[in-house]
């Protein structure tokens, strides 16, 4: 599977990664090579095998419905670039 420049630019925009136009072509080449390498898996015959979404043969662990966490606002806000009156603050985003 080959990625073109336009697709790379679109993925970058969706991921909020700033990508100078000069880097689009080389990145498209690199990503295409990675996808091509992974596509080798397509050679394995998987007919009749259930698709899997995890490689671990474990059951999903569960927690009980108990309040065991939270109430630690200072810890939550300590790394925030900006906070005010107990809220995170960001430049105004209005729809």
């Amino acid at each position: 599977m080959a990625l073109d420049k336009a697709t790379v630019a679109r993925i970058a925009a969706l991921a909020r990664i700033k990508l100078p136009p000069s880097e689009q072509e080389p990145l498209a080449r690199e990503l295409s090579a990675i996808l091509g390498w992974i596509e080798q898996l397509g050679e394995v015959d998987t007919a009749g095998i259930e698709p899997m979404s995890s490689g671990a043969a474990l059951r999903l662990p569960m927690r009980e419905d108990e309040i065991t966490d939270g109430d630690c606002r200072d810890k939550i806000l300590v790394n925030a670039p900006a906070a005010e009156r107990g809220f995170f603050t960001v430049p105004k985003v209005v729809e």
Binding site: S54, L60, R63, I67, D69, G70, G86, V93
Partner: protein, 484 residues
């Protein structure tokens, strides 16, 4: 029969599908141990998992899974014994991880159905496409500061069920009926409190129009409508708008719109459609969710009696009309209240007192039936006093009003205020004689054939006895004396 909308160029059919986000009732969040209570101080119910600190791992809340399965069972839906959590990727200030953990291709609940109760007493089935589990996002406040948006993550990570209907709904009224029914089922199950003001239940509406029987038209999605009334208004407006666009030679553009409740209109959201490329993929932090069939069966057996079954039972056991039964089963608590009043009494009389007098008082005082001003037992005693002849229906209404006011029992009020109905024939006869003597002219008119004066005499006798005379006895004695 689908309701059609008349346009300038002919009839149109409106096609509606609803996506409801229902907040699950749980103490802790879907993937963390932080609390979920509404209205806490900002960011005090946030764990490092909810704030997406590096290296934090989600661990699913068993109770939330159970709530989703019970809801699925209540909607008569397939329960998928294996389901998968996916990441839905988008950027917004109140989504700390840059993705929402949701379910995409393999939801926990598959196809189900919901039966709509229509105003004419009939019902219609609406298909449920799926129900999946997902996290809620945080809350952005745009009006607290001139240049900043404030973000509160208390809601981030709270468990939601997204319940998607088939495009089977054909009018704003049906959409309203669907939401009321869904809300009722969720509240019976105790899986969501259905409180739209607090955002526990939110609705996205997919609306399109077509000529009757034609292929589906292009749809618009109206996001995040937060009351049943607004859902109905938004659909009415949007259907009209689309019909006008088409009738004027235009085409409907597929887009996301917002409902402006103040102006009663929908308008397009400004964000680009490209933002809706969510690039779902299985969340590598979570294994597939597998359910034990015996556990699911246990949940099925423990389900409460749901509104449809209860309604059918009320009609069969109490001989109520479908409409009365439908009103009484809308809330579990009103159904329970009715059953307590009706126990050992005339169910029709009990239903009337609950639906007319009690509901009237609840509406007037703005109270819910969970905390009634008159208990079911106390209302039952009042009804007993009507049936045994102590109180006339009219006096009983006065006593009921006094019960609401004072909290005293019906028997105590009757005693205290001397309201006991006069059933003493001699006393009634005395009152009648006095009236007939004083109204000799009218008596003569009556006897000359002006029979409608009878009601006048009854009224005078009731007035003379302070409304306490037994009306049946008054009628009988009066007839006898006027004839004689």
């Amino acid at each position: 029969m689908a309701a059609l909308v008349e346009g300038r160029t002919g009839a149109w059919e409106v096609v509606i599908g609803l996506e409801v986000h229902a907040q699950i009732i749980s103490r802790a969040k879907l993937f963390s141990g932080a609390a979920t209570a509404f209205g806490a101080e900002p960011n005090t119910q946030v764990s490092t998992v909810d704030a997406a600190f590096p290296g934090m791992l989600p661990v699913i809340n068993r109770h939330c899974v159970e709530q989703a399965v019970r809801t699925g069972l209540g909607l008569d839906a397939e329960i998928n014994l294996v389901s998968v959590f996916d990441r839905k990727n988008y950027f917004y200030a109140d989504l700390p991880a840059g993705y929402q953990i949701s379910q995409y291709s393999r939801p926990i609940v598959g196809k189900g159905k919901l039966s709509l109760d229509l105003p004419d007493g009939s019902s219609r089935e609406i298909g449920i496409t799926r129900l999946h589990l997902e996290q809620d996002a945080g809350k952005s406040l745009h009006d607290q500061h001139p240049t900043l948006t404030y973000v509160d993550l208390n809601r981030a990570g709270v468990a939601l069920m997204e319940i998607v209907s088939e495009p089977d709904i054909r009018s704003a009224e049906e959409a309203g009926a669907y939401l009321r029914k869904l809300r009722s089922i969720l509240r019976y199950l105790g899986t969501c409190d259905g409180n739209m003001e607090e955002g526990s239940l939110r609705c996205d509406c997919n609306v399109s129009v077509r000529r009757p029987g034609a292929a589906l038209g292009t749809r618009c999605e109206i996001k995040n409508v937060n009351s049943i009334r607004f859902v109905m208004q938004a659909i009415e407006y949007e259907a009209r708008r689309q019909i006008e666009v088409i009738e004027e030679g235009g085409t409907v553009k597929q887009e996301t719109r917002l409902f402006d409740a103040g102006r009663g209109v929908t308008r397009p959201m400004r964000s680009k459609e490209e933002a809706h490329d969510y690039r779902y993929f299985p969340d590598p932090d979570l294994l597939p969710l597998t359910l034990d069939p015996a556990w699911v069966e246990g949940l099925r057996r423990a389900l409460p009696e749901l509104p449809d079954a209860k309604k059918a039972r009320f009609i069969a056991a109490y001989k109520l009309s479908p409409n009365d039964a439908g009103v009484l089963v809308g809330e579990q608590s009103s159904a329970d209240y009715f059953e307590m009043v009706a126990k050992g009494r005339d169910p029709k009389l009990a239903a009337n007192w609950v639906m007319v007098e009690l509901y009237g008082v609840l509406n007037r005082l703005g109270l819910g039936i969970e905390r009634p001003p008159v208990s079911a037992a106390a209302l039952g005693e009042l009804i007993d006093l009507i049936v045994d002849g102590t109180l006339s229906g009219r006096l009983a209404k006065d006593v009921f009003a006094a019960m609401v006011e004072t909290g005293k029992s019906a028997a105590a009020l009757v005693e205290e205020r001397g309201l006991k109905q006069v059933t003493d024939s001699a006393a009634i006869a005395g009152a009648i004689d006095a009236i007939l003597a004083a109204e000799a002219g009218k008596v003569a008119e009556y006897r000359a054939g002006k029979e409608k004066l009878f009601g006048y005499f009854v009224g005078q006798v009731m007035k003379a006895t302070g409304g306490k005379a037994n009306p049946a006895l008054v009628n009988e004695a009066l007839r006898r004396k006027l004839a004689g």
